[in-house]
């Protein structure tokens, strides 16, 4: 069981991820606002963060950078429906654990999270 944070500007997309991961026994919080998500990372130990790349104000890549500053041990999985080489490269440079493309299916998501958690221990 792990603490996982999901940040997506579309609430429903975040809730779908929450449903899948909670069935695996994880504790999952979902945010649509960048500031609230960041405040959560400051206040709690988050093992895995799943970030959409298109957010309301910041980009997911900026969020990745912020999260890594506050909590370097958090494994960050980028999840985007608009993949580009540019964001993939930036994400990698900023220490993202993985760069995944929507639509992502249940098995793939579970697998990515499991490997992020393994890499942590």
């Amino acid at each position: 069981m792990a603490d996982i944070l999901v940040l997506d500007d579309v609430l429903d997309a975040g809730i779908m991820i929450k449903r899948i991961l909670e069935r695996k026994g994880h504790r999952v919080v979902v945010y649509t606002e960048e500031e609230e998500a960041l405040a959560h990372v400051r206040a709690h130990a988050v093992e895995v963060a799943i970030l959409d790349i298109r957010l309301k104000r910041l980009s997911g890549v900026d969020m990745l950078e912020e999260i890594k500053k506050v909590s370097p041990h958090t494994r960050v999985i980028m999840l985007t429906g608009y993949p580009t080489l540019e964001t993939a490269r930036q994400a990698q440079e900023l220490g993202a654990f993985d760069y995944c493309i929507k639509p992502i299916d249940k098995e793939e998501l579970e697998e990515k999270v499991a490997s992020a958690l393994e890499a942590k221990t």
């Binding site: 500007d9 579309v10 429903d12 997309a13 429906g81 608009y82 493309i101 929507k102």
Partner: protein, 837 residues
Amino acid sequence: MYLKRLFKHWTLQVFTPGKLLRLKYEAFKELLQHDKKSLELITDLEEILHECMSVDWARVESLLRALRWSVGSLIRSLVAMHPAAYWELEEQFHRLELAIVNAASLPEEDCLPPYTLTLAEAAAAPDLAGGKAHMLGRMHQEVGVPVPPGFVVTTHSFSLFLQYNHLRHRLDELLAQARLNQSERLEEISREMEALILEGDLPPKVREELTRRIEEYQRQGVQGPWVVRSSAVSEDGEVSFAGQYTSVLNISAPEALDAYKRVLASKYSPRALTYRLRCGLADQETPMAVLFLEMIDAKLSGVVYTRESESAARKEKCLAIYAIPGLGQHLVDGSTIPEVHYLTRETNPKPVQSAASPLCPLEPEGKARICLTAEAAVRLAGWGMTLEKLGGGPQDIEWCQDKKGELFFLQSRPLRGSSEFAEGSQEQGETPEIANPLLHEGGVTASPGVGMGKVWVVRQEHDLKGVPEAAVLVSPTLPPTFASIIERLRAVVADGGSRASHFAAVAREYGLPVMVGAIEASRRLSPGQTVTVDANRCRVYEGEVESLKAQAGPARARPEPPCAARMRALMAFISPLRLTDPTSTEFTPQQCRSLHDVVRFAHEKGMAEMFSLVGRSGRGLAQARRLATELPLVMYVLDLEGAISPAAPKGKTIEPEYITSEPMRACWEGLTHPDVVWHKGLIHMDWEELDRISAGLVNLNSKALASYAVMSSNYLHLILRFGYHFAVLDTLCSEEPEANYISFRFKGGGGNFQNRLWRVELIKRILEWADFTVKTRGDLLDARFERREARQILSRLMILGILQGKTRLLDMALTSEDQVTEMTDAFQERYVGYLYS
């Protein structure tokens, strides 16, 4: 970038062959991942094509983005294995990408002014004003029929609203998850989209324009209140969208901005979304304009159908006027029964017949009360015929009459299903002899046809969740919400409602039989009872009527939705696989005409790269060797690490007993099981023959047609090829059960499509029995078995080997479902011991 990559490659090759091998192997593993993902995405898209679009176009776009990324990554992995070798493939891929983007493109969402139009301006600007406002403008401008004062907020305002609030990609993300057959999920998605619109801010320019228009009217003495209605592009055109969007009534000037957003939001209501998906229209193809009309304080409201049958039996056509007291809402939402007037279809129409509403109280002297005067009916009918000319065919027209007796027209659109009704009515003069008990007789044909199914009685309009497949829906009224479950219905029988109800229009488009005004039917028909509804003759029989079966059936074939044509054009660059023969001179990047070809080419080359003799001296990569076997099977094996015993003699071939890769040993044991008959002589002969007649183009010993195994002591990637049969097996069998898996993919084969499907079904059943998770799509099968102990992995590999050996020629031999069952049982009985060994 490119030179740097190349330089890195050369340096490594010269100085650290071991590291190069490792990098190459890493790149190869990535390539396999992208290959798998790409094929899955192609299959997802093919599925949408074959299911005739029960998803939103946003889903297609999302899959396309993912596919372009996966194929791009696949090529990057291949390039990483051999820098500088595949630039032609990259170029070809970019050409295909461009073609795909072009084929998939939707109309641009234009955000430029004008943001509002007068009705007169709307007459000349269908794309800005939407269907309803455009026609209303023409009615006013071109033939001078009376319409209420009003104006249009254009489709460009809507686009600007989306842009201003950054909503397009969020809507697309939600739309991408919508499925016609998952109504509860669809409702959740809908609610969030509606909330996104309602929470959005109106762009200042739109706000100013809208306010200015209303103030202008106020200065001219038009005080409102207003009726605010949708006027979407495509609405009232090819498809009607009848009653699918919201209209809001009684809006005062200060409420106008909010009412505008409410109408915009209704574009994403479950009802409108379902309807749009069913029509195969993309969100961007139905941008919404909004019509503001002064609200008429109506004494009477109604609908004119300019071409209608007074009764099913009567052949000559009339014009029909439906009227109810007060607002028209109750007429079109199917909750009441109107009075009806029939008139001749002439420039100066003459009354034929009138019928009062059965719900209307009688006059004191006992006569049925008629509300619409004969004089007003004649005027309405005259204008109706004028509008039929303007619209170029029979029209469905909304009108109302104010307290002073003035008539106004609110909209006019093509009347759907009138011609089908006419044809249907001609062949049904005689009632056939039917022995089944007659449960109900009487009512009006709202949509012709015959339907059979089990009765489901709906009391609450919104209680539609439990309605089962193939239901005959019986209801006191005929609300437009029925449209959201139309796929599940075989027929509808309503106590109330009329042909003028919105749902009747949708049902006629869809070809669903509907009877209305069937008084007491909802009490006479009992839930669960099987009935036959003959909507042409307005009769309901108990059971299934044999003589009517020929007329019953699923809704008639619908015209091809716009998305389907776009999808087909698009899939021509994605799906067809032309590169099937790696030995052919055509097997080149230039010949990749689809992404499927690109994926196939890259996978083949990736394998070849793994097997290529980087450094012919054997430096870096161990040399691939041919497996020495009596079987008519050409297999090359490549040892990554510890897969071949050090004791093995050197040479170009290797005896199977020296293989130390555990997964390979298990698989080989299965393939060479005594039960597997290889018909050696026969196959050899056939292949030789093929070789001879094809003038040496196909060489049995050609590496390109061979099977390959890349293996280490506990890993195996195996490509099996026998003739047309193509299977890929990827497996890890280590001491950690959590890491272990078998992934097996199988596609194609000779034989016709049905035979191939049976073989896939056979393999599926057997693998499921062996605890694999199996997914099939068409003739593609994907099976996984994971997180198990090594001995369980090995037993499954052996079973897979036997199965591959035994089923390789079955695509020609399987001819029935029973045979599949028989063979599954026999297989299970014989090999059950291996599962638990």
